[in-house]
């Protein structure tokens, strides 16, 4: 059926400058770690980089997904949104500005608030891991797009 083992495709560039609005978040630390594992050299200035990855915003949001008949929350939905753009020094986009979003649902119970706090932390961690993987996959398939 044509399936084969995933190969060492590598990244379409070798050096990257990571430009984050807030560089001290766990997500940025995970992203750096993953880029390094994928043999990307992280450089400390945009001029020296093949590609500049710009993380313009990183937002965690929580919304009520469903209410009980008594007006209490029975499910929450977590949103994790990261605004991403990759471009090079010729101002060509590699990934045009895009807001990537990951969602997770979980059941909620006000009588178990301490346990639910830990569940939320675990879901946030998993969303962060997923987001890093999605960005790595997008980068591995990216190429310089003709300027518009």
């Amino acid at each position: 059926c044509g399936f084969h083992l995933r190969g060492h495709a590598g990244m379409p560039f070798s050096t990257l400058y990571l430009n984050a609005a807030n560089p001290n978040t766990p997500f940025i630390a995970d992203l750096r770690q993953n880029l390094t594992v994928n043999n990307i050299k992280l450089v400390n200035s945009a001029e020296k980089a093949d590609v500049i990855l710009s993380i313009e915003s990183e937002v965690l949001d929580k919304q009520i997904l469903s209410l009980s008949g008594g007006g209490r929350v029975s499910e929450f939905q977590l949103f994790y949104r990261v605004s991403v753009r990759a471009y090079d020094n010729q101002q060509r986009d590699w990934i045009p500005t895009e807001i990537m979003e990951i969602r997770r649902d979980y059941s909620y119970d006000d009588t178990k608030i301490l346990a639910k706090e830990q569940e939320e932390a675990m879901l946030v961690q998993s969303m962060r891991t997923d987001m890093v993987q999605q960005i790595i996959r997008r980068l591995s398939r990216s190429k310089a797009l003709p300027p518009q």
């Binding site: 059926c1 044509g2 399936f3 084969h4 083992l5 995933r6 190969g7 060492h8 495709a9 919304q63 009520i64 997904l65 469903s66 209410l67 009980s68 008949g69 008594g70 007006g71 209490r72 929350v73 029975s74 499910e75 990934i95 969602r103 997770r104 649902d105 979980y106 059941s107 119970d109 006000d110 009588t111 178990k112 608030i113 301490l114 346990a115 639910k116 830990q118 569940e119 675990m122 879901l123 998993s126 999605q134 996959r137 997008r138 980068l139 591995s140 398939r141 990216s142």
Partner: protein, 721 residues
């Protein structure tokens, strides 16, 4: 004659980049061109027919133009157009000194490029370079042939130095009828914040009656502001909403203090205090405080107007100190909750943590990942058992295989817990300890193939994953429970070592989780179009540690299936199902689909089912009707309780320079209680919003909602790029 030479040089068009150039000064030369130029006397030029005088960034066009070079006076007559920075001003006659900028224009009609605003006046006086006054001025953002609304002012003073405009006897006419009046008002000319009254908010709710709020914004300093908003509710009285915000280099925060001195319905005074404060103390060391308190259990249900707030049950009060040392971090926290009881359905209050101390560390050493997690908590409760609990959890994992196509990572850890019992020990539980080893093995593979499907080129993946966990059984029935709960079975939870959240229970395990993920990604850019995941957990012996008695443990877990993706640019799908193979029924499923072909058109369809607990339909949409009318609404219904949870019905009328929103909302705020609210809002684009604001409600309730009169994105993004 030097003017003639300059005229020849300048057959250029106005260039928009001129806008960025410095303000004209006396030294800047002026250029004059026209059908016919006449040098009248020394230093005096008369330009006749299509006359244009240019000075950097500014041009004056007229039928006939008289220019005195020595005094820099200009007298322009007939179809005069002054243009600067893309803004224009037209009128029959202009007298202006280019040097001092003192002058006068009769019956000016002006256009402001920034927001397509336009206006007129009887006369405009140029007092100097920074100050202008206008008599009987009008202003609107309506297009040229439309005067649906007009802001009229007897007098208007523009102060470019202070960036303030001041109007006297100002009123707004909507469809020819005056709707707002103010004897005096001032407004900022740029985006700077300025103290002043904000537009009044009025509406009505079943719980408060008619409602009028008049917010006053106080710009105390660039980094400090306050909003004081008295809110009159006909059934209850006057509620004072006070908000204070501050931001310094090392700290920042927000304080709310709301007071309703004498609630006529509840016969008592009611208050709310909320404070958030973040503080950076030293490198890596930060502090955080979050305090919330309301005077009574019904405060939010009675006085708040959104589900996000009325549904809150536990209000947190906590202080947190945290230190981040790179590979390790530590926190100290004190936390307590105020539980707002619904008299018809009271619940137990959560434990306070006074304090909670945590340490977490992670290091890589010769290919191994060493981790440590430690926690000490003093659990406090007025009625239930109090205790101190210490948890120590070191672990090490080592990737045996690590390759894009396959990985294999074993992990070994110790989970050690110690209790010292305290007050309210009715069951006379002894101090206790529990130490358990935890072994896990995570492994996976990845296969790929190129696939052409319906004209698109995709990368199709198959990613099997196998996760094994071993934890020996230990009887934990005699251990207390402070912060633990059985975890819902989910795609995240199935790859966790413990079946419980919290440290009071460590589930015995000898099980393997099998999962398969298949993705469809676009070859061109790696965008994920569809992701299908299937997973199940198989135990070699039935798990024995359980909260629920009698335990219904079996060797097979439920089967999870998820299908999700942005299938096309317009369609998004998100669905998940949980099937119980032991009882052969579906335990849980949910499906959410969204169709959003373009901004302003969205339909969300959702259904959620959880056996014996929840059956919800949730439909919401924003869609254009005929003409300029648009419909917006939501219907969220619980078939389990036969109860409407939230319903919203609204109409929006989008005229080119104003917008009318009519929205009705009904939502559940407690057992047998609901609140109904009406929102009527008239927004005059770029001037004022009058009425009660349904926008945050619509954004929260109708996923993908678009504010229809926002400026097109391409206009905004031009500025950004």
């Amino acid at each position: 004659h030097n003017a003639g030479a300059e005229v020849d040089m300048l057959a250029l068009e106005m260039d928009r980049t001129f806008m960025a150039m410095p303000v004209p000064t006396q030294e800047t030369p002026a250029f004059v061109e026209a059908d016919r130029l006449v040098g009248k006397q020394q230093n005096q030029i008369e330009a006749i027919g299509n006359a244009i005088l240019r000075k950097r960034g500014q041009s004056i066009k007229a039928d006939r133009l008289l220019y005195f070079q020595d005094t820099q006076d200009v007298d322009a007559q007939g179809s005069v157009v002054v243009e600067q920075d893309g803004n224009t001003m037209s009128g029959p006659h202009l007298i202006l000194n280019l040097d001092t900028n003192i002058g006068k224009m009769e019956q000016p009609v002006f256009y402001l490029a920034e927001n397509d605003g336009r206006g007129s006046a009887d006369v405009m006086l140029f007092q100097d370079k920074q100050h202008y006054t206008l008599d009987n001025a009008t202003y609107t953002t309506c297009p040229a042939d439309n005067e649906d609304w007009l802001l009229k002012m007897k007098g208007l003073e523009i102060d470019r130095e202070q960036q303030i405009g001041t109007a006297h006897h100002a009123w707004v006419e909507f469809m020819g009828a005056p709707i707002l009046y103010s004897p005096w008002m001032d407004f900022p000319l740029n985006d700077q914040r300025k103290s002043g009254f904000l537009a009044p908010v009025f509406g009505s709710t079943t719980k408060g009656g008619s409602d009028l709020m008049v917010p006053y914004y106080w710009n105390i300093a660039p980094n400090r502001d306050a909003t004081i908003a008295p809110r009159v509710m006909t059934k209850r009285g006057v509620l004072l909403n006070n908000e204070f915000r501050y931001l310094e280099s090392g700290y920042g925060g927000e304080l709310h203090m709301d007071v309703l001195p004498n609630d006529a319905l509840a016969n008592r005074s009611r208050t709310r205090i909320a404070l958030t404060h973040s503080q950076s103390i030293a490198a890596g060391l930060t502090g955080y405080v979050n305090l919330n308190r309301v005077s009574d259990d019904a405060y939010l249900r009675d006085l708040a107007d959104s589900v996000n707030i009325t549904s809150q049950v536990n209000l947190v009060r906590e202080g947190l100190l945290s230190y981040n040392g790179g590979w390790w971090n530590t926190t100290a926290r004190v936390q307590r909750y105020q539980t707002l009881q619904d008299p018809a359905a009271p619940i137990g209050v959560p434990y306070a943590r006074l304090p909670q101390l945590t340490v977490a560390a992670q290091r890589y050493a010769s290919g191994a990942n060493l981790a440590f997690a430690g926690e000490f908590v003093d659990f406090s409760h007025p009625a239930a058992l109090n205790a101190q609990r210490l948890v120590i959890n070191p672990s090490v994992s080592y990737p045996l295989l690590s390759d894009p196509a396959f990985y294999l990572t074993p992990k070994v850890g110790i989970h050690s817990t110690h209790y010292v019992m305290g007050a309210n020990n009715a069951a006379a539980l002894p101090n206790a300890s529990r130490t358990l080893p935890i072994f896990s093995m995570d492994s996976g593979m990845a296969f790929e193939r190129d696939w052409s499907l319906a004209g698109g080129n995709y990368l199709h993946t198959l990613e099997p994953r196998v996760f094994y966990v071993y934890v020996p059984y230990r009887d934990q029935a005699q251990l207390p429970n402070f912060d633990s709960a059985q975890a819902d079975f989910s795609f995240v939870q199935m790859f966790a070592e413990n079946r419980f959240f919290g440290s009071d229970r460590v589930g015995d395990a000898n099980h393997v989780t099998l999962a398969m993920t298949s993705r469809l990604m676009e070859q061109a850019n790696g965008m994920e179009r569809l992701k299908v995941t299937l997973g199940e957990r198989f135990s070699f012996s039935p798990p024995r540690v359980n909260f629920i008695t009698p335990a219904t443990s079996t060797n097979r877990s439920d089967i999870l299936l998820a299908v999700a993706g942005r299938v096309t640019d317009a369609w998004t799908l998100d669905s998940e199902a949980q099937f119980d193979p032991n009882q052969s029924h579906t335990q849980r499923y949910n499906i959410a689909a969204r169709y959003r072909p373009e901004a302003g058109k969205v339909v969300n369809l959702g259904y959620r089912f959880l056996r014996n607990t929840l059956r919800h339909a949730d439909l919401s949409a924003q869609w254009p009707l005929s003409g300029r009318w648009h419909a917006v609404g939501r219907w969220n219904y619980s078939f389990q309780d036969n109860r409407l949870l939230e319903a919203i019905a609204g109409l929006e009328y989008n005229q080119s320079c104003w917008m009318l929103r009519l929205v009705a909302q009904r939502f559940t705020v407690g057992t047998q209680q609901a609140n109904t609210g009406f929102f009527i809002q008239l927004e005059l684009n770029d001037l004022v919003k009058v009425g009660s604001d349904p926008l945050s409600l619509l954004k929260n309730s109708v996923s993908g909602y678009t504010k229809l009169n926002d400026r097109p994105v391409d206009k905004a993004s031009k500025v950004l790029r």
